[in-house]
Each structure stands twice: as structure tokens, then as C-alpha cells.
Symmetry: C2
Subunit: 200 residues, 2 copies
Amino acid sequence: MPPAGRPRAFDMECVLEAAMLLFWEQGYEATSLAQLRAATGLSSASLYGAFGSKEGLFKQAVEHYMKGPGGATGVIEDQTVSPREAVAALLHGSIDMQADSSHPVGCLIALSGTMRAPGEEHAGVRAAVTARREADRVRIRACVERGIAAGELDADADIDGVTAMIHSFLLGLSTQLRDGVAATTLHTAVDAVLLNWRRS
Amino acid sequence: MPPAGRPRAFDMECVLEAAMLLFWEQGYEATSLAQLRAATGLSSASLYGAFGSKEGLFKQAVEHYMKGPGGATGVIEDQTVSPREAVAALLHGSIDMQADSSHPVGCLIALSGTMRAPGEEHAGVRAAVTARREADRVRIRACVERGIAAGELDADADIDGVTAMIHSFLLGLSTQLRDGVAATTLHTAVDAVLLNWRRS
DNA sequence: TCACTTATGGATCATCCAATCCGTAATCGC
DNA sequence: GCGATTACGGATTGGATGATCCATAAGTGA
């Protein structure tokens, strides 16, 4: 049954999509409520009624991002391919997604929440994206461990080091793309990274 | 001879240092003039008289950064060591600098100017830091070429790819450190990166 | 038809923003 | 000492900010 009261006149997914694109392009702080209102067509009351606050809207926009473009990183967990191929799919796929011209360049998760406000005003915003980055870290690490188990890497390989190498490279892609570095160049950089995925 | 008029009652270097630390920690947009006034002890009139605008202050703070902590990347141009050692010094030195507890974590250049405002309001701010990143790109590339010339890398090595791999890793370090990844882990990640600095 | 609940549009709130203005103070060349 | 020039502290500017309020509209179940 539908909830009591007047039903919403807008589609949540469409609103989250518009908000996501704005936050993606400009970041949380630089995106004003006036811009969000213009992009979504909603009034302040509707926005706050549905999401509680600008911060709440951002968090839901991040979830929307993860269900869409941000889901591209999920291939790292694909157990049907070799760990090495999973890493390759993660990196190449991430570049393709971030460079896609149908949305802002780069990755929302990699670019957001890197600055700190002394008053910890928007701690929730930072926490939302740092948690996603931490999740990526965990998944990459699991893949490295699978690589060792599969014999692709040395048994005594530095798990944390290899994980950090891959993740740091992944996080840097967004800035590279925003600086205008060609996606094709970054694809070849992935090949260079994967040279390290081997036994010594 | 001293310039005509009443002399400044403050030290430019101290003011730039304080402003740099604020911009470093919080970024350009999130740093308010009120914070800058409190940190520097100057009035609005003095700040605007000396730097013209908030943007002008940021640009000079970036220059101040490059003369100080940001100068750590200069080791990549050291011709007295092997290209491989120059890259190692760049990456290890950058981690040490960024993790130093005497200032904000991460790199001002890597973290700033990655977001785009539609009105291009602070295009000068972005341009200031993107130019520095581009300069790093050029210097890393030159080092890769030296590596080929020195026989450390294959003659047909993918110069742009290796350059992008190193730079992307470098850019990702700031986010990793802000996320709490240990500097020691990143140092071992550098070792993993350098496994690629070899002939096939 | 009648409460009840929720959503909407638009006006409005106090606050903060970057930037400017003004009267005064300090140092110059002369 | 004197005019010119520059810097200073502090108040103030117009505008934008995130968030809230209120009257009204549009649905519900009884």
C-alpha cells in the first residue's frame, strides 16, 4: 500500500541522478542548494523533506553513484577470472568509466572528502566517501591475497605494499584525467602496473 | 632604498606560511577570509592590500609551498644519481614530507584544484596547481627518458605509460595518507612500483 | 464527507561570505 | 616641519548561503 499523505510529485532516482552529477563535478562544498534546486527542479522544502539536509542528499547521491558508475569497481571481486585479470578489469574499467563523456570526468569517491574542516562540520560527508575508499582497499587486498594463493605472486609478497601500490594508482587516475591526461595513456600505464603482478 | 609610505608591520613569509597551512589543510574554497585573518593576525585591508584578493593570496601561498615542502619533488632532477634512484628519492621523499606531523597531511598540489565550478569562478586557482602538476609530469617523463638512455629501461619502453604510472601513484599518496594509511606501508608500495623500473 | 498525513511552492530566516571604504598612523623625500 | 605615499584597524557593504516556516494542495482510511 502507498504511504499516507500526499504522494511525491518527483522521481527520487532522477533527483539523485541530478544531484550526483553536480556533486561529482564540483564536490560537496562548492555545490550550492540553489544549484541543486535548479538541477532537480525541486523546492528547498521538497529537498529537505526528502533528504533531511544537504549532507543527507549527498550521502544518498553517493549510494546512487555506487549503484551506477561507482559499481564498476565491483569486478575486482569476480572470482571467475584470475586475480590478475580482476585487477586489470578493475583498473581498465575504472579508466573507461571515469573518462566516459556522458558524465563528469574522474571518480566521485576518489575526489571527494579529502579536505578537512577544523570544526568537523561535515564529518559525515567525509566519512561516507572514506568508508567507500576503505572498502576498495579491502577488496584490492583480498584480490592480492588470492593472487598469492593462486601462485601468481610470491608467497612472501608484501600484501600491504602491493595493495597500496594498486590503490594509490587508482586514486591518482581521477586527477590525471581531470588534468587532461588521455585515457589511452592511462590504459598503457595500467599495463606498466601489471608488470609487477608476477613472481620474482 | 625602502619603498615610499608606511612600511608593513608584518612579515610576508610568516603570513604566507600561515595561509599556506590553512589552504593545505582545508583547500581554497573551504578556507574563509575570517580564518585567514585569525591565522595571520592581519585585517582584511592589509590582506587585500598585500595580495589583492583571496585568489592572489592562494597563488602566493602555493609559491611559498613550492619553496618549502613542495620543493621535495625537485630531487627527481638530480642528475648526480641514477634515474632509478631519482624516482625512488622522489617517491620516498614525497611520502616523508606528506606524512610529516609538523604540517597538514598530504600534498597541497595533489589535493587542490581538482573540482570544476561551472562559472569558472576561480579558474586561476585551478590553473596555478594544475600547472605545477603538469610540471611534475614533465620532470618525471624526463627522468623516464634518462632511464632509457642509461639502459635501465628497455629502449622501446612506453614512456608515457611509465610516466603516468609513476605520477598517478604519486598523486594517490595524498588521499591514502589522509585516509590514515601508514607511511611505512606506502614506502613498501614504492618498492613495489620500482620493481617495474627494469629491463624486460 | 471528514479528519489525518504528507508534499509543495514561495517567502523568509539568521549567518556567513569576499571585498571595500574610511579615518588615522607611519615613513618617505625634501 | 611638510606633502606625498602607503599601511593599518575596524566598521560596513551587497550578496549568497543552508535551512526553516507557513499556507495550501493532494492523497489516505473511515
